[in-house]
């Protein structure tokens, strides 16, 4: 494997990864453009980049992964390419709806994708997801996983998906502007937006979380599809809209520049911002909110099925998985991986919140994803 041009290949790979990181990390940026495939083109344009295979079996020259922004340690992909000869082509997405839309339209060309817990039953009923053959995933140790974060992968006794990471949806707040009066609830989030955080707040461009958290303001379920409850949430959102800085899931740049002071936020983004700017803290609304779990799965008709299994198996290796956590700041439910993580990560209140805060959280529901009324509500809110 150590041939003469190994170094230049590696260097070239690093450059490519840097390109990926620099241009394709923004959830919203990609959400609105659908151009996550830009990196895929980069990858496809360079068949000569493959390292020599040292893998027992030839799995082909590439594997296509559809995933979320800021969600991998690219060194792990390079190690996979070195070991198997298959290049990992990464497509980044903005929402589960968008992933579902691409798979429904057909011809996605993906080998592996990363659905969130509440979407899996829909993929099964729409016949878009392949049942997993556990014998091809020797690194998958079901007993090591906390079942709360792994059971959505099994539908009617069939395993369709194995857990990647879990996390929460809370809010990030720049505490330099709170006047010593900390925000702790979703009620604070919306009330303070109308008050001292006016013009500085961002909400996700995503129906599940934006509507869900507005529902929590009233103490309703995050997943409610009840007409009256949704009407209350809509009233609140439209009332708050003039005070919003933006409706966007690309909140890191504005929070970091100081333009925005308060935003709905996912665990890893909260961790990444808090590490660089300690005045930005990550808060779980006391009323509750969302807890979620992402999975690795294989879509029906994946063009490189062997490579798909090889990649998932590689990512489930606890050593590899631990490096992932250190890179992106999202917790895992795998005890074998957690055993390898340093204590400061395991005791980090952003990654592993206190139990009473977790208890109040709800997993998103399948009905929430497909409910047409919630989608229409968000459209009305955005165009109001």
């Amino acid at each position: 494997m150590k041939n003469r041009d190994t170094i230049s290949k590696t260097k070239f790979m690093e450059e490519l990864r840097r390109y990926e990181k620099g241009s394709v990390t923004r959830r919203h940026f990609l959400g609105v453009t659908g151009l996550g495939a830009a990196t895929a083109v980069m990858g496809a344009a360079m068949p000569g980049l493959r390292a020599g295979p040292a893998f027992a079996q030839d799995i082909g020259d590439r594997v296509v992964l559809a995933t979320w922004p800021n969600y991998h340690d690219t060194a792990n992909f390079d190690a996979f390419t070195d070991a198997t000869g298959a290049f990992v082509q990464v497509n980044v997405f903005g929402s589960n709806e968008e992933m579902l839309a691409k798979l429904q339209a057909g011809g996605s060309g993906w080998d592996v994708f990363v659905p969130t817990n509440y979407t899996i039953t829909t993929y099964v009923s729409e016949d878009l997801i392949e049942p997993l053959d556990v014998s091809k995933l020797p690194n998958y140790d079901p007993s090591a996983f906390d079942p709360r974060f792994s059971d959505a992968g099994t539908v009617d006794g069939t395993l369709y998906a194995v857990p990647k990471n879990w996390g929460t949806t809370g809010f990030a707040v720049n505490t330099a502007h709170d006047g010593g009066n900390a925000l702790t609830t979703w009620k604070d989030f919306f009330d303070r937006t109308k008050d001292d955080y006016s013009g500085r707040t961002m909400v996700h461009d995503y129906q599940l979380t934006t509507i869900g958290n507005a529902l929590k303001y009233f103490g309703y379920s995050f997943n409610s599809v009840d007409e009256n409850e949704l009407a209350d949430a809509e009233k609140l959102l439209i009332e708050v809209k003039p005070h919003l800085f933006a409706i966007s899931s690309d909140y890191q740049p504005a929070m970091r520049s100081g333009d925005a002071w308060l935003t709905m936020c996912w665990t890893g983004d909260g961790k990444q911002m808090n590490s660089d700017m300690p005045e930005i803290s990550y808060v779980l609304g006391a009323e509750g909110g969302e807890i979620w779990s992402d999975y690795y799965a294989i879509p029906k008709g994946a063009p490189h099925s062997d490579a798909a299994y090889a990649l998932i198996n590689h990512m489930l290796d606890p050593q590899v998985n631990a490096r992932e956590v250190l890179a992106h700041g999202y917790p895992v439910a795998d005890a074998n991986t957690n055993a390898l993580l340093p204590d400061e990560i395991k005791n980090d209140p952003i990654l592993y919140p206190a139990q009473e805060l977790l208890d109040a959280l709800e997993f998103g529901a399948a009905a929430t994803l497909t409910d047409p009324n919630r989608a229409e509500l968000l459209a009305r809110f955005k165009s109001a």
Partner: protein, 283 residues
């Protein structure tokens, strides 16, 4: 082969392209617009006018588009005209090509990257911070309709400059001399001769920019912060988020109809303007 057959052969590639890439997809959109949304999204065949009846739900998107697209076109035109005039009439011919290339250079970078860059220019640490050093505090630019307008003018300016440039470049200098000889001041010459003769270029530029702006979604999404909602944004959400293909098709078809009507009226007006100005033409 007869002349007639040769003619058919010559238009065949364009005709096939037109059929496969335009007529067929538009027919699909038209048919889908009478369908229904599937339970998990997508399209279920049906024959209902429900989607069209639901159009008022996107009224604001249509309103925003119908206001900002013409406004953006007008702003681009007002900025492009003096630039094109300078390039075509006032610039030394040896600099012309270099300056023209400079107008095109931005096109070498994706509109996506260029629009994204404006987020940082208009953000709190960009232009507002600069204004702050001059004592103008508290200016908010990013995520406002004004930011969208800036993005539109920036993105579409070259499309406006070129047709106007071409029209002005072909301007016959003898006409200007004649005007001057007959006692017209430079300003009168501009309004009576130069401007009317460049109207075809202005009309082409406006139409190019206007049509593209009607379908715009990227600039409002990036620079409007999700608060400036165009029909294009409504369509992206309908197809990628709520996956309501039927309603999305109805919105898309309505947009096409509005565009066709607007452009037809516009062309009629321009044609009338042209014939009314026959008196200044010597050709």
């Amino acid at each position: 082969m007869t002349q007639r057959e040769r003619n058919w052969l010559l238009v065949a590639p364009a005709g096939a392209w037109f059929l496969v890439m335009l007529v067929l997809p538009l027919s699909v959109v038209f048919i889908f617009s009478f369908g229904e949304r599937g339970a998990a999204g997508g399209y279920v065949p049906a024959f209902t006018f429900e989607q069209y009846a639901n159009l008022p739900a996107r009224l604001t998107a249509f309103k925003n588009t119908m206001i900002l697209a013409p406004l953006g076109t007008l702003a681009a035109m007002l900025i492009a005209y003096p630039l094109a005039y300078q390039l075509a009439v006032r610039t030394d011919p040896k600099w012309k090509n270099i300056l023209l290339v400079l107008v095109i250079v931005p096109f070498w970078t994706s509109i996506l990257i260029r629009s994204y860059a404006w987020i940082f220019l208009l953000g709190g640490r960009g232009i507002p911070a600069l204004l702050g050093t001059f004592g103008i505090e508290g200016v908010r630019l990013i995520y406002t309709p004004f930011a969208v307008l800036i993005g539109i003018v920036y993105g579409y300016l070259p499309l406006m400059v070129f047709p106007i440039y071409v029209a002005l470049d072909r301007l016959d200098n003898r006409l200007l001399e004649a005007s001057s000889d007959l006692g017209a001041r430079p300003l009168a010459t501009f309004f009576k001769v130069t401007l009317p003769l460049s109207i075809p270029g202005v009309a082409t530029g406006c139409m190019l920019v206007f049509i593209l702006l009607m379908g715009e979604f990227l600039i409002p999404a990036l620079l409007g912060g999700g608060k400036v909602f165009f029909v294009g944004n409504a369509l992206v959400d309908l197809f990628l988020q709520s996956r309501n293909w039927a309603f999305g098709s109805a919105v898309a078809f309505t947009l096409i109809v509005i565009m066709l009507v607007t452009v037809t009226i516009y062309m009629r007006l321009i044609a009338r303007l042209q014939t009314g100005r026959d008196d200044v033409s010597v050709m």
